[in-house]
């Protein structure tokens, strides 16, 4: 038996195993990296949408200004002043179908919830949408400070808008 050639085969085998091991680790890291990138892009997309739409909700009257379920193109809660929300518009929004509202907010394929909380009394005034957001991954949430005008007084409030994609 030629001992020299046997030794050579063992060398090759060890080298191959180390190489394969290295490849496996690399592919795993690569995949993890790609997943992070996907997640990041998704978050970016959600952040853009939520920033835009929360701004629209608290700073504009919507379009048309006296919108209702049959003619609404863009939903806005404000009256004549930015950050002062009209209760009449919020209540109109509460009656909208979730899928319909989601499409009007350009959130098709995504889930969202909206809450308006009285900050002084820490009481939820309104909640709408998919409220199972606590278990959502990739949840992007924005908090807007506003005043809700209920025609007798202004209620210092927070509007929370959360968006995610399962």
């Amino acid at each position: 038996m030629n001992k020299e050639s046997q030794l050579f085969s063992i060398d090759v085998g060890i080298t191959f195993l180390v190489f394969v091991g290295f490849i496996v680790i690399f592919v795993n890291l690569w995949n993890q990296n790609v997943r992070q990138l996907d997640e990041s892009l998704l978050k970016q997309n959600l952040q853009e949408k939520i920033s835009f739409y929360s701004d629209y909700l608290v700073r504009t009257k919507g379009y048309p200004e006296d919108w209702n379920a049959s003619n609404v193109l863009l939903i806005g809660f404000a009256g004549d002043e930015e950050n002062i929300l009209l209760i009449s518009k919020i209540e109109k929004f509460m009656t909208l179908n979730y899928t319909f509202a989601r499409s009007k907010m350009n959130l098709n394929g995504k889930e969202f919830y909206l809450k308006i909380i009285d900050v002084i009394n820490n009481k939820t005034l309104y909640s709408y949408g998919n409220l199972s957001y606590q278990s959502a991954t990739n949840l992007i949430q924005v908090t807007r400070f506003c005043l809700v005008n209920d025609s007798t007084k202004l209620i210092p409030s927070k509007l929370l808008l959360g968006v995610w994609q399962d």
């Binding site: 080298t15 978050k43 002084i120 908090t143």
Partner: protein
């Protein structure tokens, strides 16, 4: 063992590791959308909302807070202020030095709003009101808003006073300028003695100029008046009258530039008459820089108001000349003003055979058979210095020539006797200012100063402007010989213009504000567009004669400028007594008017104040958020 093969495999392994590691590292450096960016975006939105919130939320909206209830019950916030905004109440606490109340209320509201992971600092005019720190913040956002009617360290109750000069008394100078005027140059007409002999000895004849001028009715006394006599009289007498009183009488035999003391100038309309006798040589005429300077003490009420639309007739002096007449008559329209009308009305008596009129470098009228008494009305708008009817600010010059041609230096063949340009002649101007100044508490004051130094062909002068709010400025060039001049202005922050001897103008062109369009076009009053002169800076004016090396600009050349001086002070600090408030107002007024040499009867108004906050401020409210 084949050591060689083993080493080769290891090398391969190391190489591959390096390659894959590099690829991996490269991919991980792709800039992902980090959570920190999301946080920053949210912080920005939160900050904007917060500023809206603190300015729009009223105390009545916060009544459910126990602290607000306590403040109301204790009278720390009065019920009349129930509709005041949150930030107004914080401002009130701060100016009342109730810092703890401001801090507690701010913290109470901010704790309800601001998430736990966000820190904040709130300042009122850089005095900290409240803050919450977080460890290792990665981003920070600063927002500010102005709150009118608040000022720290100012008592809310007491007396305030303002003061003004009821009648302000100050020294002022008025300059009356006469641009070059002449009686006609030497007569080149051949006078035949015998058939083979003729002489050309008939010179320009007598010249009389009569000019009316107004001295303000509200002067206290005329301090000084002097005539800067700038004429050419070679062998003849000169008589100067003011209001029909002889001021000066002398025989001259050359060009003259001298100061003549003048008396009898009074408030109201005055008349100066200059008579130049027919000289034994050449002819009688005036030169640039023929000025009457009148210094007086003026007493006037505060206030300055410009009309949006200016309609004005600029009257010619009366000129009686023999045997012909020429004149340069200047007028200016401030740069940027919109010209709607410019007409010339000229009345000339005893014309023998020739007339022509120039406006700047345009011959706008000529009549080779002009005769007798003539009335000429011309629309001169197209020839006035403007671009699309907006004035360029360059001084305009009208030059009528009667019984003398503009290109000749002798009268026309038939010129005989006296020819008169009537003082019924005028330029009618209508223009509109894009913006007008209308200010109570300011006084327009006119001063002047001379260039000084020595006579030079190219002469500059420093024009320091510290606190002056200019409303107009003029150069009155003085010359014994003159032909054409160009003037430029600039300030210490600019590079001085240079003279281009080929183009015969100052470069860059935008620094040049006047250039003679024709020979002899050297008006005694040249307007400087005031936007060329900068406040709190040393400005420079440079004039160059480009007609000949002997044409010097004299040191008596003068800058005349009018500025607005303040003579009132508003309310300031609150004092415990009326006397203290009045003393403070008078002291402030005296400090204010001192640099302008204004005196006068001080008037004051004192008021008691109780929470009259709108008199002060604004204060700055700053919020810094960190995450």
């Amino acid at each position: 063992m084949h050591k060689k093969a083993f080493i080769f495999s290891l090398e391969l392994l190391v190489a591959l590791s390096i390659i894959f590691s590099s690829i991996y590292l490269l991919t991980t450096t792709i800039p992902f959308f980090e959570d920190s960016l999301i946080k920053e975006e949210n912080l920005n939105v939160m900050g904007q909302d917060l500023m809206q919130f603190i300015t729009k939320t009223r105390i009545s909206d916060l009544q459910d807070l126990q602290l607000v209830q306590d403040y109301l019950n204790l009278g720390l916030i009065e019920y009349k202020d129930i509709n005041a905004s949150f930030v107004d109440v914080i401002g009130t606490f701060m100016i009342q030095n109730k810092f703890d109340y401001a801090k507690n209320l701010t913290e109470e509201v901010f704790e309800k709003l601001i998430p736990d992971n966000v820190g904040y600092q709130v300042y009122f005019d850089n005095v900290s009101i409240a803050n919450k720190t977080i460890s290792n913040p990665s981003s920070e956002l600063t927002l500010k808003t102005l709150l009118s009617g608040y000022a720290l360290n100012r008592s809310l109750e007491g007396y305030i006073a303002r003061a003004w000069l009821n009648l302000a008394s100050f020294n002022e100078t008025k300059i009356i300028s006469i641009s070059p005027i002449g009686s006609g140059f030497k007569n080149n007409t051949c006078v035949k003695w015998l058939w083979w002999w003729c002489t050309k000895t008939v010179e320009g004849g007598n010249l009389t100029i009569v000019k009316s001028f107004d001295i303000p009715a509200d002067i206290e006394t005329v301090v000084n008046a002097e005539l800067m006599l700038s004429i050419h009289e070679e062998g003849g007498g000169v008589w100067i009258y003011v209001n029909d009183v002889l001021q000066h009488e002398e025989y001259y035999d050359d060009k003259v530039y001298e100061r003549i003391p003048i008396h009898n100038v009074t408030s109201g309309t005055n008349v100066i008459k200059i008579i130049q006798e027919m000289p034994s040589n050449y002819h009688a005429h005036t030169h640039p820089g023929f000025l009457l300077k009148v210094d007086y003490v003026r007493v006037r009420r505060l206030g300055y108001k410009e009309d949006k639309t200016v309609v004005i007739d600029k009257r010619f002096p009366e000129i009686i000349a023999s045997p012909s007449v020429w004149e340069t008559f200047s007028f200016d329209i401030p740069r940027g003003d919109n010209i709607t009308n410019a007409t010339l009305h000229l009345e000339v008596l005893n014309v023998d055979d020739w007339g022509e009129i120039w406006v700047n470098d345009n011959q706008v009228w000529v009549n080779s058979s002009a005769q007798g008494n003539m009335t000429i009305d011309l629309d001169i708008l197209p020839y006035v210095n403007h671009e699309n009817n907006v004035s360029t600010g360059e001084t305009n010059v009208i030059a009528p020539y009667f019984d003398i041609k503009s290109q000749d230096d002798y009268p026309t063949e038939n010129a005989r006797g006296n020819i008169i340009i009537s003082n019924n002649s005028f330029v009618h101007l209508e223009y509109q200012k894009p913006e007008t100044i209308q200010k109570y508490g300011l006084i327009p004051i006119t001063h002047s100063f001379e260039f000084g130094g020595t006579a030079e062909n190219d002469k500059s002068v420093e024009f320091p402007l510290s606190y002056h709010e200019l409303i107009n400025a003029y150069v009155h060039l003085a010359q014994i010989y003159s032909w054409k001049v160009a003037l430029a202005a600039w300030n210490e922050n600019q590079t001085a213009p240079v003279w281009d001897n080929t183009l015969k103008e100052w470069v860059p062109e935008e620094m040049q504000f006047f250039k003679s369009s024709t020979g002899r076009n050297v008006p005694s009053s040249i307007y400087i567009p005031i936007d060329m002169l900068v406040k709190n800076s040393t400005n420079y004016v440079e004039a160059r004669d480009f007609g000949g090396t002997g044409n010097k600009i004299l040191p008596e050349s003068t800058i005349e400028y009018t500025y607005l001086a303040p003579a009132q002070v508003g309310y300031a600090d609150v004092y415990e007594t009326e006397i203290q408030a009045i003393d403070d107002a008078i002291n402030r007024l005296q400090e204010l008017v001192a640099p302008y040499n204004i005196t006068g009867e001080v008037n004051y108004s004192v008021s008691s104040v109780t929470n009259v906050r709108w008199l002060w401020g604004p204060a700055e409210v700053k919020v810094v958020l960190s995450r």
